[in-house]
Symmetry: D3
């Protein structure tokens, strides 16, 4: 089978990561997975939510959203509808959990980092691009906090890096990093979040068409770990030597 | 390690399924996984949502909710807060997808089935109990529809059965069907939805504490498939011979 | 006239009260008035709402809700609609007022009790069943608070018991405790909340069809007081000797 | 006991009814019960809500609201809070039911009348003033519809008139038409809606302090019927001879 | 061209200002611009919003709303729709800014004045009538606060007065104070807010039909300043000698 | 006076307009006014809103929004708050009116164009950048529609071009195109929307500090028209020869 854009089954789309895109945020990255473009900003503030007060720990959370015309057909804005949809909630929670898996909240101190992931253009894989870019924005903001002395010179709140990729089965073949045209055809769709050290943070597999067996699951996991390893390299390149793998 | 309630690592809590609990709904089941109790009702109506009109297919969807004092501390009602939380949305969507994985919408005809899963008492595993009970309510309503001739005598909208169970790792040991006291301690938490034939519908694993490796993932999947196989037997027993495995 | 279920005009439906149904709540009762089933839980917490702070008084409030498929046709969830309907608000307020009429808030101390009344199955009279069951859950939670020493051994926050019943006029005849099929046909519909001592807490009569005269009003009040007296006996039986009429 | 404003126990406050206050609405009345002032407008439109289509019947409904500074302390606007409170809902429903009790919906034809009752100034009894003024606005709009030939010359949608008054017990004495300073002190508070012929439409009695007995209830009902009879006269005077008692 | 109501191009509609209409509010005015009637109330409270705490300054804000049947066709209530429309927001903000332009917040001290402008009847120019009436209610409340000694005898929070009027171009002719039938026909519509000293606070001109040139803009501004000067005289007359131009 | 960035009083910030930034939308432009960056997309669809059906006219509308971290301090998302703020509403309405002023809706036919203006980075003048960019996206989408034959080859829905700029008075000096640091200091702030032919579409002047006189207003209008003329040239350059001034 040949993929629509000519990629090999285990090949990522062209990935670009522009660290420090925003001149307003404490950390930021504009990431693209092919035509999918996500702007990730990190807002660092001193202090924590009330329920964490005085525990000596920090907090990291995330919000995901799509611009109304990031997609092929315009969607109504969630602000206009007056409520956030289930999918948006679900992805925001996933990004937050993924980042917290590589954060040592004690080392962060009583500080809060909010990561906003806004999809400027969508062509499949927006949640995996968001997680991958969010890590870069997070690391960028921690570096900023260190220069501002909000975090000690020797503290390292990052215990590992984290990246994510989608995999799926189309016509029986496992494929890496699905573009939108592939995503809608996939029988099984899986998002895998893994650390730079190759450990799983999240595994979310869904049978869109027929249920899948254990062998298929295994081949998807293999493919995904190859993808997150390559994304880890690109994150480290974007962050530069000094911020390389914590 | 001994579990708090004395169970073996691969043992389910006591499971009861009361088919036909409701005298109002077209299908229903009151299911308990230990102290977790979920009332599942199926509402069968002729016709489909507008976007499916005239396509000769049916629709199955689900809504999940917890009573405010189903839990150890009272939660505010989502109706009072004026919006549905992310967790509720996420679980409702999961139940809906799980049921649709075993439905042949063509055989269902242009009919809609809404499954409501209301947690009366919560002690861990509410989403997996909900899916397992929802299948019984769904099958119950399809049997009702057949007696009402809304579905042909020879039509079989159910292509398989579906059940779900949680698994997790505590102190390094993989355990089946976590109660609440176990759930809060688990390093890794996974919900597995599988069909009566043993195929995966959903696999959702999350590192709550440390990320997990491939070997741990494999042992959790083994444990889960054992649990869903046992739940499948209990579902079929509740439904009776005539509705046994489609 | 014979009633659909063969009852006499002044006869209640079969009533059951299961005290302590919930293993999570401080007090609870599952009550049924015929096919109407309401789960009442009491959540006891130390402290009071801000506006009562430091006044040495407690607070009792209630919330009423119906499961979407408690009724013959499925209703949309209020949490999904994003707002609470007028009827729900009205009944929640009625239950709260009814309970507060028999509470000595000074004897309760600065504690709050929230009563949740969730209708699991509806066949007319849900608000009256809710009030009757709510009193049992309330008394159950006060007993619990006494064992926990949150209320002194000699304090008695309950100054009386409270129960409620519906009455109505159908084809000119006054009837007690209307089932749904009767309720929709009633020309006049009245809900009466009365204490164990036979005093009125609430009288809410509405002409659904033709307005009613003073004589009809009198006969409905007579019938209602007979019903609440019988419900008082059943409440006391459910609570047991030691909690009998305060 | 002397009342604060020197009235007798069975005396209404000064009542004024200004029919046709609005130059925009099809019917209107500005009513005052002492310092309580309510603007009632009737909006008459051809056609009915979807669920009544083709049944040859009309529809009457009402909405009640208070201006934020109608009261002694400013209240937040419900439009700003984004939701309508329970009390507002309850009163809107009460006004609608009261008006429908005197309407022959067949004679109204497939037309809809929406009555808006906006409290410009509040000093107790806003709901009873609203109902009493709403009837005048309703009758005014029906007269308008007749001149427009939306209703036949011989049709009479009004089968009776309707008025409302509050009564209460203060220091053991039953009093008519409570002003705000009386209302907050009342042990028992009752709103009675009655027709021009002296029949009950609604009886809503609430024990604010101690529960009340049958004798107290009777004396309150006597007092209320005297008040509604006097209000009926004032309504007819405002409407003029030609619209006098239907 | 003759205007529908026979006015000259530079003539205001009949204006009435009833200071002190409300017996509940600290300041109030019922203002009419022809058939447009707006009730303006001022709520004076000690203290300021949290973000102004301890700065020695007061705060003035405003809320605008229309009764549902103030207009020729009934509008849905914003409280029922659950959200405030853009136009309402815009006008509330405009009124607030206009009033703050003539307030010395230091002289006001740490006090808050909320102005509510509720349109009882609408016939064009509701926002300009609201601003003009709001100033009278504001001055009325400041006089009240001085008598209550919440503001020092020598403090003068009002540095000028403020009034507003609409102007527009119809069939090429600039007209003052448009009634509704004129407003819908205007090619250009402008609202001008000016102080008693004749300085601009707000100029909001909009091309409803064809864009306008500099010469047209100039003639509209001339006309508007004539109107606001006349309104200033009427405000001062309503407030009386002692409150005359600060 | 020297401006913070060294500009002359009548000098715009560096302006860039990237036409066709989006690969999903029918028309788009990424515009920057200095550090202010706004992504404008045009969504062209056949058909019109229900209230315009069958009138042979098209519809153009706009929505404005800011990313939560477009600003120096993170703002809460309006989707999370569940409602749109007054400022957002106001600017969305302004953009829509500005675009409709240069559209011949008959020539557009029964088609709808929705313009989304999302502020990626904010440094003052976001609404004026949005209007200026929105025109380019609008023209881009009309060109697209012509190639798709949704609009006839000879139809020209654009009757003029439109651009906007802010002006203000700081320390008594009128300045063009205020950056954020200037905006917060301005005594008077004015936004002017003008067409390519130099006619006014909107003039919105506000006294932030002291009210302004006629002479100041005149000098601000002069400055603004110089700015919009320069922006018109840049728009035409971005659109290219073939789309030059309609």
């Amino acid at each position: 089978m040949t993929r629509a854009d000519g990629r090999a089954a285990d090949e990522l789309r062209p990935i670009t990561i522009e660290r420090g895109w925003s001149s307003q945020a404490e950390g930021s990255a504009l990431i693209s997975f092919g035509a999918t473009k996500v702007l990730c900003t990190a807002s660092f503030t001193n202090g924590v939510p009330r329920w964490l007060n005085g525990k000596g720990k920090g907090w990291v959370t995330a919000e995901y959203s799509m611009l109304p015309r990031s997609t092929n057909e315009r969607m109504d804005r969630e602000s206009v509808k007056g409520k956030i949809g289930g999918r948006t909630h679900e992805i925001s929670r996933l990004i937050g959990r993924s980042l917290r898996a590589v954060i040592d909240t004690k080392a962060l101190g009583e500080n809060t980092i909010v990561i906003d992931c806004d999809v400027l253009q969508a062509d499949g894989g927006t949640r995996t691009a968001a997680i991958t870019g969010a890590y870069v924005a997070l690391a960028d903001s921690i570096e900023w906090a260190r220069t501002q002395k909000f975090i000690g010179q020797k503290s390292q709140p990052l215990v590992d890096s984290v990246a994510a990729v989608s995999v799926g089965i189309i016509d029986g073949e496992p494929l890496l990093d699905l573009a939108y045209v592939e995503d809608v055809r996939a029988e099984t769709d899986m998002n895998v979040v893994a650390t730079g050290r190759g450990l799983f943070v999240e595994v979310q597999g869904t049978a869109e068409g027929a249920p899948f067996d254990r062998r298929e699951l295994d081949s998807l996991l293999d493919l995904a770990l190859g993808g997150t390893a390559r994304l880890t390299e690109l994150q480290l390149a974007a962050l530069g030597e000094e911020l390389a793998r914590p």
